[in-house]
């Protein structure tokens, strides 16, 4: 057994070399661009940072961005689990096509998604024209933003849950059933615990994607200050007045909050994984 393990370790050359390449690529692809963001904010003092960060319009935009992203990610988590379940557990005609469709939101330029969603849900669109008389305003409201973010985020959940579901042994479910557990009990006590980590990952990914999303949202949100204005739009509007420092301040704060939230989710996920074992 120990021999097998040592051979496995040697498949990729030494730890030093691989670690070196990891540091190199992480720096080039992630760390240096992020550092450049800071560098770009020359002239950004703490006073200015605080001024920008506590501006009521900026705060309102954060509220919009974070709540819509969170709601969208939550809905995606539920829907994504359902989609993954159907894809893994059932056989039906056209399954391959269905499966490929899931990834399409990744490939579609987000602005195109935004334009088509707006066309659908505005007051004279195919769907919007039915909802508007009922008093449900989708386009140009937070509901519209959430919808756009759900569209963008759904593949993250499906693609993280699917492989785990595929690997899951059905023996455990059968054992639970033979021991007299009902369907609900089996789901809650047997299936859900092992699905929780991928669900959390999917949620975190969809959530993070939603916070930074610009293209699909600007068309459907209506961009009304204090109500449907998202933080990335505010960054763009600061750039439009050549206020690089202000734009960086909003971006930095967005990144700090996002990092904190993602860190929390990751910790939660680790905790779940540990307790479920």
């Amino acid at each position: 057994m120990s021999q097998v393990k040592s051979i496995q370790q040697k498949v990729i050359p030494g730890f030093g070399l691989t670690m070196g390449f990891s540091v190199f690529y992480l720096s080039v692809v992630v760390l240096i661009p992020l550092a450049a963001l800071l560098f770009n904010s020359t002239g950004l003092t703490w006073v200015k940072f605080w001024e920008v960060a506590t501006d009521p319009r900026v705060l309102a935009s954060y509220r919009v961005s974070f709540t819509t992203s969170a709601v969208a990610a939550l809905l995606d988590t539920i829907l994504g689990l359902l989609l993954a379940w159907v894809l893994v557990r059932y056989k039906f005609p056209g399954k391959a096509v269905f499966d490929a469709l899931i990834d399409l939101p990744f490939a579609l330029p987000t602005a195109v998604a935004g334009v088509s969603l707006t066309a659908l849900y505005s007051q004279n669109g195919w769907i919007g024209s039915f909802l508007e008389p009922l008093g449900i305003k989708v386009a140009f409201s937070p509901i519209g933003i959430t919808l756009a973010l759900m569209f963008i985020g759904i593949p993250f959940v499906v693609r993280t849950v699917q492989p785990v579901l595929e690997d899951m042994d059905r023996d455990a479910e059968e054992a639970a059933a033979t021991l007299g557990a009902g369907r609900l009990r089996t789901f809650c006590k047997v299936i859900l615990p092992s699905l929780l980590p991928p669900l959390l990952t999917g949620f975190a990914l969809a959530f993070a994607r939603g916070i930074g999303e610009y293209g699909s949202v600007v068309f459907i949100s209506g961009n009304m200050p204090m109500r449907t204005e998202i933080a990335p739009l505010l960054i763009m509007s600061k750039l439009e007045q050549y206020d690089y420092a202000g734009a960086t301040a909003v971006a930095m704060l967005l990144l700090i909050i996002s990092f904190f939230l993602l860190f929390m989710i990751n910790s939660l996920q680790r905790w779940v994984r540990r307790t479920s074992r």
Partner: protein
């Protein structure tokens, strides 16, 4: 284990340093190579086939014109006309590439290193930004006639056919059941002209009372259900989605939408007073000095003022400034009383700071409780 970790991190850093040094060494040449393709929207307008006819006496030259969105068609025809003119005049082949996008975005691209020989933007403020960065010499406004604005436009109302809500004047925009579509002045150059036109009208109506003008503009924006990020976006919202009763638009955009969609759907309404929108042009001094294109760049912009240049502008629904061409196209451009930015607001810098910068009047409109 710890030793290998240290070695690994060290190796990564060494790799990183060498990669950065290599990048620095190549910087000068790499810049030149990437500068032109960076204009992702660039279109070659002079056919390459033309270059095969006979060897030119002067070396071929290439210009990059960085412009804003709705001038695409205008410059496509103008570039052809200018290339023909220049070859006849100087015997030099000139290829003009054009790049389009939001005015502010384009200006930032030039600041960040897009090597534009000339810029033709929507707002003087965007050219001021280039001046501030040292790319353009001071006094660019005076370099060409008429504040360096060879063609002009104005802000008009686009309404549904037959004008069902009876919108004829700025004051009609704040009637109870009217919804107004305009882009966001914070992100769109065109929207700033809309805002300023409304402000100028309110000032005149209220005997130059600034507070009343501000109240009027605030009322106006409370009738706006959607703020798109750019002028084309607003046009789509109004024309395709059927949202709102009136679209505030550049005259050329309004005429274009009517031409494209058929005159049976929309009407243009001219208010009694509007703003003279002056989209300016300028030579990017630092770039032409470096590339030695000063002469041709200057001729390129100067030619916009000639009979041919003005006719092309008029054919693309921009108001010509040359009297003879004005006369020829007078039916296309109804007479409206127009005020200039300088008449009412002063320079772009002052206007931007007072109205559109963070904390400016436009922001105050949306602060709750004010």
């Amino acid at each position: 284990m710890r030793k290998t970790l240290k070695q690994g991190v060290l190796l990564g850093l060494v790799l990183l340093m060498s990669a950065m040094m290599a990048a620095c060494g190549n910087n000068a040449t790499a810049n030149e190579k990437t500068a032109t393709p960076a204009a992702n929207d660039t279109t070659k307008t002079v056919k390459e086939a033309e270059q095969d006819i006979e060897p030119a006496k002067l070396e071929d030259v290439e210009l990059l014109n960085v412009s804003y969105d709705p001038t695409r068609e205008l410059y496509e025809s103008y570039n052809k006309a200018f290339a023909t003119y220049w070859e006849k005049e100087k015997g030099q082949k000139v290829t003009i590439k054009q790049s389009h996008g939001g005015s502010g975005k384009q200006s930032r691209a030039v600041i960040d290193g897009l090597e534009a020989d000339v810029v033709t933007l929507a707002l003087g403020y965007d050219i001021d930004a280039l001046q501030k960065d040292g790319l353009i010499n001071e006094g660019w406004e005076g370099e060409f006639e008429l504040n360096s604005s060879p063609y002009t436009s104005t802000i008009v109302f686009l309404v549904k056919k037959g004008n069902p809500k009876g919108i004829n004047e700025w004051s009609d925009l704040i009637k109870d059941d009217v919804e107004v579509i305009t882009p966001n002045p914070k992100t769109s150059g065109g929207a700033r002209w809309n805002y300023l036109a409304a402000w100028g009208y309110a000032l005149r109506e209220n005997g130059n009372d600034e507070a009343k003008a501000q109240q009027f503009v605030k009322d106006l924006f409370s009738h706006v259900p959607v703020l798109d990020t750019g002028a084309r976006g607003s046009t789509t919202t109004f024309v395709e989605r059927g949202i709102g009763d009136v679209l505030l638009a550049w005259e050329n955009e309004a005429i274009l939408s009517i031409k494209e969609l058929g005159p049976d759907k929309f009407d243009i309404v001219y208010p009694t007073l509007s703003i003279l929108a002056e989209p300016p042009v300028a030579i990017v001094d630092k770039v032409v000095d470096k590339r030695g294109t000063q002469e041709v760049a200057e001729a390129y912009l100067q030619y916009l003022y000639t009979e041919e240049g003005q006719t092309i502008a008029a054919e693309n629904y921009y108001r010509p400034t040359l009297d003879s061409v004005k006369e020829k196209f007078k039916d296309n451009f109804p007479n409206v009383e127009l005020f200039t930015l300088a008449d009412v607001f002063g320079t772009w810098k002052e206007t931007q700071e007072k109205h559109f910068n963070d904390g400016g009047i436009f922001d105050q409109i949306y602060v709750p409780g004010k």
